[in-house]
């Protein structure tokens, strides 16, 4: 389902982090969001998912026709928004089995799901697909998991919840190449009509496996650059300093860049006079 973000402004009570973000991700597409540390990428992910500590001060975010900002976090999830966490938390004492079954019930509707045996079959094959030992089903949620196991567990949840839109917050970080491939396969499996996603990453690496339809670059709470996958390669080659030095706006109130660019190639607008550091 398509996600439409317009001029989204949000942050902590004492600090604005998102300074007018606009993004349009049509149904069926996967976009990448890149940017240096502290640019606001994870904040965007968490604001979309409804993290209560962030305050939205302006703009809008719609999933299809649903105004996300009107909903609480759990309602957004039930509507079909999924966030793969950068740092999945440990919840001791809750088995994956119990947690996942409940989450799937809430997403698909309680009457929908059971048929227990077909659910179990589906879960089993999704675990196999994600190279997760089936014994994990009785382990406590994320407790004692390695970084890679946590990330694979996020994708497993995504596969079972079948979201309309997924935000993947640095799902690739800390993964070795095999795990990266497995995780990418999981994402690609959902790709198609009825699903869209935003892959947040520092590195181009994951984009070799999950080919983005478009790449956006965020710096200092704004999208400063949008384009095709060549943008990612260019960033990889030149580094973020290049973006900061050549693309930063010179006015806090100026709004974002190029969020509605279309077609191939990067739209680059320069405001080279400003050498401010990105928000930390």
């Amino acid at each position: 389902m398509n996600l439409t973000i317009k001029d989204l402004r949000a942050g902590l009570p004492d600090r604005q982090i998102l300074k007018g973000v606009s993004l349009e991700i049509p149904d069926g597409e996967i976009h990448a969001l890149m940017g240096p540390n502290g640019s606001g990428k994870s904040t965007l992910a968490n604001v979309l998912a409804g993290y209560p500590q962030y305050e939205v001060t302006g703009g809008s975010a719609f999933l299809g026709d649903t105004d996300l900002l009107e909903l609480e976090a759990h309602e957004r999830a039930r509507t079909g928004l999924f966030l793969a966490f950068q740092y999945p938390v440990e919840v001791p004492g809750i088995t994956i089995s119990k947690f996942l079954k409940r989450a799937v019930e809430l997403r698909r509707g309680e009457e929908e799901i059971f048929n227990l045996s077909s659910y179990v079959k589906e879960l089993g094959s999704a675990m196999d697909f994600m190279h997760i030992d089936r014994k994990f089903i009785n382990r406590y949620l994320n407790e004692g998991f390695s970084g890679g196991e946590k990330k694979r567990m996020e994708i497993l949840q995504m596969m079972m919840l079948k979201p309309d839109f997924a935000v993947l917050d640095e799902t690739d970080s800390g993964l070795d190449i095999d795990a990266l491939q497995v995780v990418s396969n999981g994402i690609n499996k959902l790709r198609g009509r009825g699903f869209a996603g935003l892959v947040i990453t520092h590195y181009q690496r994951i984009l070799n496996y999950v080919k983005p339809d478009k790449v956006h670059v965020m710096v200092n709470g704004r999208i400063v650059l949008s384009g095709g996958s060549d943008v990612a390669r260019e960033l990889e080659a030149k580094g973020y300093d290049w973006v900061k030095e050549t693309l930063l706006p010179d006015d806090d109130e100026a709004g974002g860049f190029g969020s509605d660019t279309s077609g191939a190639g990067a739209e680059k607008r320069s405001s080279a006079s400003n050498h401010r550091e990105a928000a930390s």
Binding site: E72, H74, V89, G93, R102, R107, L141
Partner: protein
């Protein structure tokens, strides 16, 4: 186990706060004195030695000061208590023979159904007397004795006299003295050598009358290489005045025996629950206390294991929920008196709405012992800023060859955990509940399934409306 839709008092979410019209065939005046003790004894046709024991205990109760530690109980008025209310003349062995009101109450509490489904025997106490008692025929044939203690005194005097008051002396503390003076009802359970009772036995304690003090007495003797799992449950009506429950539980696990004692304490929020529970664990024997304290206004209870034989093992699992107006002062005691003994104390407490949950525990190792192991874990979960948790771990270690571990952890429900679960579709309330259940899970999973379900349900009730 309990599927009651009983009328619920407007005072709280407590489900079992209904009361019957008062039912009694004998109700002496309030207050504790020699006359009432003699009256109780006379009603039970007791031998002289038991009356003497009671009177000695009464003197000890008067002599002993109130504890100057533990839960806040200084304002309790021991004179404003009925020390004995006899509901019916004779206990029965068929539920149908009970007066209708009492039977209805037990039906609402789900007891007959529970007995039918998964118990090997049941005793049900109503105010001061056991009104229903029954055991599966097969067990009796194997020599298992399961009786109200009064009947055991009459029918097995030698056995009772050999053990009664030997594990918890009447003058052990103020409340053991109180119970030893005024005891009425409870359970006597004897398991012969090598008999394994695979299905649990249960006693259920119900207070009905206002201002009652309930003083049941439980004595469990597991003879050599036997096994039993005994469960007690309890509830009471909600009154504006306070109720008193002061029990003594004694367990003797002879060589190689294993006893598990599970309590799901769900008293109403007006009960002072002051209980002494202690087990004597002999050579290669094991005793486990599983102690769930959900209800009551004040609870002071520290189940103890005295490991007196080599190879003895004791385990105490304590779960406490301290909600509004509640103070749970609970924990456990492990006293090692022989080499090669081991103990584990695990305490999990939850505090919310200004409630207090304290862990108070003692590990004691006598002099000159070898290879003693003890492990104490206490975890506390605070659900809000106004609630309180405290930890009082005492250790008296007088031997060298001791492995002693102690872990304590206080945590709060973290915003990140809540958000993670909410981002998967769980409401804030359900997410909190799931985190609390997860916190208790390592203990709850050791309960028989029906009781695990019951305990989870009680905690869910306590949690209702706590998110906001």
């Amino acid at each position: 186990m309990i599927d009651t839709q009983a009328p619920v008092s407007g005072l709280s979410d407590y489900q079992f706060g209904f009361s019957d019209p008062e039912i009694s065939v004998f109700k002496p005046e309030k207050g504790l004195n020699e006359k009432i003790i003699r009256t109780i004894s006379a009603h039970k046709n007791e031998p002289e030695w038991m009356l003497e024991y009671r009177l000695r205990a009464l003197r000890a109760f008067r002599r002993k000061p109130m504890p100057n530690w533990g839960a806040e109980i200084g304002d309790f008025d021991f004179d404003d208590v009925y020390y004995y209310i006899k509901p019916i003349d004779e206990g029965v062995a068929n539920w149908e023979d009970l007066p209708e009101d009492i039977l209805n109450t037990y039906d609402k509490l789900g007891l007959p159904e529970a007995e039918r489904k998964f118990l090997a025997g049941m005793g049900a106490q109503y105010d001061s007397e056991v009104v229903y008692h029954s055991i599966k025929a097969g067990l009796e044939e194997q020599g298992v004795i399961f009786l109200p203690p009064e009947e055991a005194v009459a029918r097995h005097p030698d056995l009772v006299r050999k053990y009664f008051g030997k594990v918890v002396p009447y003058n052990d503390n103020k409340f053991s003295a109180l119970n030893s003076a005024a005891w009425s009802g409870g359970t006597f359970l004897y398991i012969p050598p090598n008999v394994k009772v695979e299905i649990p036995l249960q006693s259920y304690f119900r207070i009905n009358s206002e201002n009652l003090g309930q003083f049941e007495r439980t004595l469990i003797i597991a003879d050599k290489n036997s096994f039993v799992h005994y469960i007690e449950g309890c509830t009471a009506p909600i009154y504006t005045t306070d109720l008193l429950h002061s029990a003594v539980v004694e367990i003797i696990a002879e060589e190689g025996a294993r006893v598990r004692y599970t309590t799901i304490q769900n008293w109403s929020g007006n009960v002072y629950n002051l209980v002494t529970q202690r087990a004597l664990v002999k050579k290669n024997a094991a005793v486990e206390w599983v102690d769930g304290n959900i209800g009551s206004k004040r609870t002071m209870k520290y189940p103890a294991v005295y490991l007196t034989g080599e190879g003895a093992h004791g385990e105490i699992l304590s779960i406490a929920f301290g909600g509004r107006g509640q103070e749970q002062d609970t924990g456990g005691k492990a006293v090692h008196k022989a080499s090669n003994t081991s103990s584990v104390i695990t305490s999990k407490s939850i505090s919310k709405d200004g409630g207090i949950a304290s862990y108070r525990g003692l590990v004691k190792v006598a002099e000159g012992l070898k290879n003693v192991k003890s492990h104490v874990i206490c975890d506390a979960l605070l659900l809000d800023e106004t609630s309180i948790t405290r930890t009082f771990p005492y250790m008296e270690i007088e031997s060298e060859d001791v492995s002693m571990e102690h872990e304590a952890l206080v945590s709060r429900i973290s915003e990140d955990q809540l958000f993670y679960l909410m981002a998967r579709g769980l409401s804030e309330e359900e997410a909190s509940m799931m985190i609390v259940n997860g916190f208790l899970e390592p203990l709850v999973k050791q309960l028989p399934m029906e009781y695990a379900v019951e305990l989870n349900r009680l905690i869910e009730l306590e949690m209702e409306g706590s998110v906001g």
